[in-house]
C-alpha cells in the first residue's frame, strides 16, 4: 500500500499488507484490496462469529464494532480499517458471557442463531449512541437531553438487523432488560 501522500501513480496489486487490530489482537495480513472486512474476519483471521447474510448492508448479520461504533462489515473494505479498534462477537464476553448474551439466552432471543452475533454487536453500539444523545426517527424532540429506551425507540434503532426466524419479541425483551435500568433515569 502506498504511504500517505507519496504515490503519484497507483497500481493494481494482488495483495497488500493490512494490519488489523481485532478484539485487542494485532493481525498482519496480506489482502486483495477487494476483500471486505467481513471476509477478512471470517476467511483470513478465522473469526467466524460474524455472519454473512445479504452481503449488501440490508440484514445486519455482519455487524461489528469499530472504535465502539456499529458498522456493516460487508460494506467495509478491510484495507480501510487498518489501525482501527475492531470488536467482534468473539471479543464481547469477559471472563463470563456479557449480560446481554445471558439475556438473549434467558429470553429465547434467537431460534437458528444466525443473526444473533450481529444483533448483539448492534445492540451494544445502539446503546452507546443513545447515551451519546443520538436521536432516532421516532424521537419526538431531537433536541432532548435524554432519550429513554422505549420499545418504539429500541425497534427503530435496531431496524438494521433482521431476524428471519422472527425472534424479535425475545430480542426486544433481552435488550430492554439489560439496558432499560441504565437508560430511563
Amino acid at each position: 500500500m502506498s504511504a500517505p501522500g507519496v504515490a503519484e501513480r497507483t497500481e493494481i496489486l494482488d495483495a497488500v499488507a493490512v494490519g488489523l487490530r481485532i478484539n485487542g489482537v494485532e493481525h498482519e495480513l496480506r489482502l486483495d484490496p477487494r476483500v471486505s472486512l467481513l471476509d477478512a474476519l471470517r476467511e483470513h483471521v478465522g473469526l467466524t462469529g460474524t455472519k454473512k447474510g445479504c452481503d449488501q448492508g440490508a440484514c445486519g448479520a455482519c455487524t461489528v464494532l469499530v472504535d465502539g461504533e456499529r458498522i456493516n462489515a460487508c460494506l467495509a473494505l478491510a484495507v480501510q480499517y487498518e489501525g482501527r479498534e475492531i470488536a467482534t462477537i468473539e471479543g464481547i464476553a469477559g471472563d463470563s458471557i456479557h449480560p446481554l448474551q445471558a439475556a438473549f439466552i434467558e429470553h429465547d432471543a434467537f431460534q437458528c442463531g444466525y443473526c444473533t452475533p450481529g444483533q448483539i454487536c448492534s445492540a451494544l453500539g445502539m446503546v452507546a449512541e443513545l447515551r451519546g444523545g443520538m436521536p432516532s426517527a421516532v424521537t419526538g424532540d431531537v433536541a432532548a437531553e435524554v432519550i429513554a429506551l422505549t420499545e418504539a425507540e429500541l425497534k427503530e434503532r435496531m431496524s438494521g438487523n433482521l431476524c428471519r426466524c422472527g425472534a424479535y419479541v425475545g430480542i426486544v425483551e433481552a435488550i430492554q432488560e439489560t439496558f432499560a435500568g441504565q437508560l430511563t433515569r
Binding site: 500500500m1 502506498s2 504511504a3 500517505p4 501522500g5 507519496v6 504515490a7 503519484e8 501513480r9 497507483t10 497500481e11 493494481i12 496489486l13 497488500v16 486483495d32 484490496p33 477487494r34 471486505s36 452481503d55 449488501q56 448492508g57 440490508a58 445486519g60 455487524t63 469499530v66 461504533e69 456499529r70 458498522i71 456493516n72 460494506l75 467495509a76 473494505l77 484495507v79 480501510q80 448492534s122 453500539g125 445502539m126 449512541e129 451519546g132 444523545g133 443520538m134 436521536p135 432516532s136 426517527a137 424521537t139 431531537v142 433536541a143 425497534k155 427503530e156 434503532r157 435496531m158 431496524s159 438494521g160
Partner: protein, 331 residues
C-alpha cells in the same frame, strides 16, 4: 468486483493529485453505496483514493450562527450534534430517517451527497438503463415505477435521488465547497445535483477531479422550528415515497418566511420554489398551504405506478406546514 488499486490520501492536495493521475478513479468515503455498486460491477473504478483519513471531520459552529460541516463528518455524528439538533432539527431528523444505524455510522457527509441517483433498473444489469449505459433505453418507463420521479424527470431517466440529508440541506440553502486542480469553488446545493435531461449518467455538477471538502449551512433563525417528514412503504430503513423538509416563520397570522423541499419525487432533492413564493407574505392558513402545494405539483407527471405521489406530496406538505403552524401558535 473488478480489481482496483487502493491508495490512501494524506492531505487534500494529495487526494486531488492521485485522482487526476489515475483513471478511471473514484474517491472512497464510507463506501456504503460505492462498494455495493462495485460488487455488482455497475461501478468499475480501476483506482480508489481513500479520503476517509483527511482532516475534514469537524462541525464548525460560527459566530454568525452558520455552521461548516466537514465532508468527512459521518452522518450519525452530524445527526447527534447538539448544535444541529437545536438549530436545524430538520437536518437531524432527515439523517436519522435515512438508512440504518450501521450505515449512518459509515456514511460521510460528502459521500451522502455523492451517492448515485438510482433505481432498481440501474442495479439490474439485465435491464436497459441510460444511466448505466448511455443510449441503451430505460426499462423503468414501462416497468414497475412506484419509487420513481414525478418531477424533473426526462424520457431518458426517471430515477430519484435517495438522500434524506440532501433534502434538508437544499431547504436550508446550503453551499457545497469543493477543491480541484484549479482551486476551490462553492456550488449552491440547489445546483449541485443535475436533472437527467439526455445525460442521466451524470448525477452532479462536480468536476471529474473535484473533491467535496465541506458543506456550509447559513444561519436561519426560524429553522429552530422545522421538520422533516418521510412517508415510506415500511416504518424504517426504506427509501421515501415522498418526504418533506419544512421550516416556517409566522408573524401575526402571516407567513414571514418558509422553506420547503421534497424528497422521493425527483432526480434531485427538490426545492419547492413555487410553493415558497406562493406562501411568503400571505396568510398562514391551511387553505393557503393547499394552494401552494398544488402550485408546486402543477408540473408533476405521474406514470403507471407512481401517480399517487402527486396527491401524497401535496397532502404531506400541507400536513407538515399545519403541524408547524399549530406548534408555533402553542409556543
Amino acid at each position: 468486483m473488478k480489481a482496483f488499486a487502493y491508495s490512501r490520501a494524506g492531505d487534500v492536495e494529495a487526494a486531488i493529485r492521485l485522482i487526476s493521475r489515475n483513471r478511471p478513479a473514484k474517491f472512497l468515503g464510507g463506501g456504503t453505496n460505492l462498494v455495493d455498486l462495485m460488487r455488482e460491477e455497475i461501478e468499475q473504478p480501476a483506482h480508489l483514493v481513500d479520503v476517509t483519513r483527511l482532516p475534514l471531520a469537524q462541525i464548525e459552529e460560527r459566530p454568525d450562527g452558520s455552521v461548516r460541516i466537514g465532508a468527512l463528518v459521518r452522518n450519525s455524528h452530524l445527526a447527534a450534534s447538539r448544535f444541529i439538533r437545536v438549530h436545524y432539527p430538520l437536518l437531524s431528523q432527515a439523517i436519522v430517517m435515512g438508512a440504518s444505524g450501521q450505515i449512518r455510522n459509515m456514511a460521510t457527509t460528502g459521500g451522502n451527497l455523492m451517492q448515485r441517483t438510482r433505481c432498481q433498473y440501474f442495479y439490474d444489469r439485465q435491464a436497459r438503463c441510460n444511466k448505466r449505459q448511455p443510449g441503451a433505453g430505460c426499462d423503468a418507463l414501462e416497468g414497475f415505477n412506484r419509487m420513481h420521479a414525478i418531477l424533473g424527470a426526462s424520457s431518458a431517466c426517471i430515477a430519484t435521488h435517495a438522500s434524506d440529508m440532501a433534502v434538508a440541506l437544499v431547504a436550508l440553502d446550503a453551499t457545497i465547497l469543493v477543491r480541484g486542480p484549479g482551486g476551490e469553488r462553492a456550488i449552491p446545493m440547489t445546483e449541485f445535483h443535475r436533472l437527467p435531461g439526455d445525460t442521466p449518467h451524470v448525477d452532479t455538477n462536480l468536476g471529474p477531479d473535484e473533491l467535496i471538502t465541506a458543506v456550509d449551512v447559513p444561519a436561519l433563525p426560524f429553522a429552530g422550528h422545522s421538520r422533516y417528514r418521510k412517508v415510506r412503504d415500511r416504518a424504517s430503513y426504506a427509501f421515501a415515497l415522498v418526504s418533506v423538509a419544512a421550516a416556517l416563520d409566522v408573524d401575526a397570522g402571516r407567513v414571514r418566511g418558509v422553506r420547503l423541499a421534497l424528497g422521493g419525487v425527483a432526480p434531485r432533492p427538490w426545492r419547492a420554489v413555487a410553493a415558497e413564493r406562493a406562501l411568503v407574505g400571505g396568510p398562514a392558513t391551511v387553505e393557503a398551504f393547499r394552494g401552494a402545494a398544488a402550485q408546486e405539483l402543477q408540473a408533476a407527471r405521474g406514470l403507471a405506478h407512481n401517480a399517487f405521489k402527486i396527491e401524497l406530496a401535496q397532502r404531506t406538505m400541507v400536513s407538515v406546514l399545519r403541524s408547524l403552524l399549530h406548534e408555533g401558535a402553542a409556543r
